[in-house]
Amino acid sequence: MKMRIPILKLKDCLIVSIQWELDDQTAISFQEDLLEKLHTTSARGVVIDLTPIDFIDSFIAKVLGDVINMSGLMGAKVVITGIQPAVAITLIELGIRLENVSTALDLENGLEKLERELEG
């Protein structure tokens, strides 16, 4: 069984809300789907909301990092929102700093931040 993560379009931004635990396969098809959607919509920004996610291991972190870099190559800025305190602490202890990743507290703040960055 394969679950697909829905990707919504709002003006020239894409919004992704990850609602359940990511297994490796879902993570990889999400990467493909997002890049495909960026290509077809020529969106300039992406917000990925991780509020319901209660852990991120090094594999998922790598997929996320890759998605951000690949989106950058395609001309889109990515903001990650809603990383939970427990998730942030485990990432730091794992030694994953996700440098140069733009973050915001929640989806709303994330969209505002994206708008500001796209204007600036």
């Binding site: 297994d23 396969q25 998730v87 602490i89």
Partner: protein
């Protein structure tokens, strides 16, 4: 004493192992941050088994030592073993193209960490998190 285990053969078993870990951690009474630490550590260990050895097992059990209660995670496999344990525990060392957070990351996430490995026979990693 409570023992539960998951055989790691497919990618889906990684998900099963960490779900088991999360449930056990909740049962023992760990807070959300420690639950995330334990779940993440199990995910890293299970993925190591899946990527490098093909077949192995993750066992999770509640342990006590004096007044301390904790959760012990044992990852065992019959894979190639680790030739250079010291290097495997160095930050940034990876042979899989991942972020290289694997074992040193697990060591930081848990309280006790022990690794026994014989080249050609397999590896057993025991990691414990104590309830504060």
């Amino acid at each position: 004493m409570n023992i539960d285990s998951v055989d790691i053969v497919t990618e889906w078993d990684i998900v099963a192992a960490r779900q088991l870990g999360r449930n056990e951690a909740k049962k023992v009474g760990f807070g959300t941050v420690d639950q995330a630490r334990i779940t993440t550590a199990i995910s890293e260990l299970a993925r190591n088994i899946y990527l490098y050895t093909g077949k192995g097992n993750i066992a999770i059990k509640e342990v006590t030592e004096g007044n301390l209660k904790g959760l012990l995670v044992i990852a065992s496999d019959e894979g190639p073993g680790i030739a250079d344990v010291r290097r495997a525990l160095e930050d940034g060392f990876t042979t899989s193209g991942g972020l290289g957070a694997g074992l040193p990351g697990v060591k930081r996430l848990m309280d006790d960490f022990k690794i026994e490995t014989v080249v050609g026979e397999g590896t057993k990693i025991s990691a414990t998190k104590w309830l504060r």
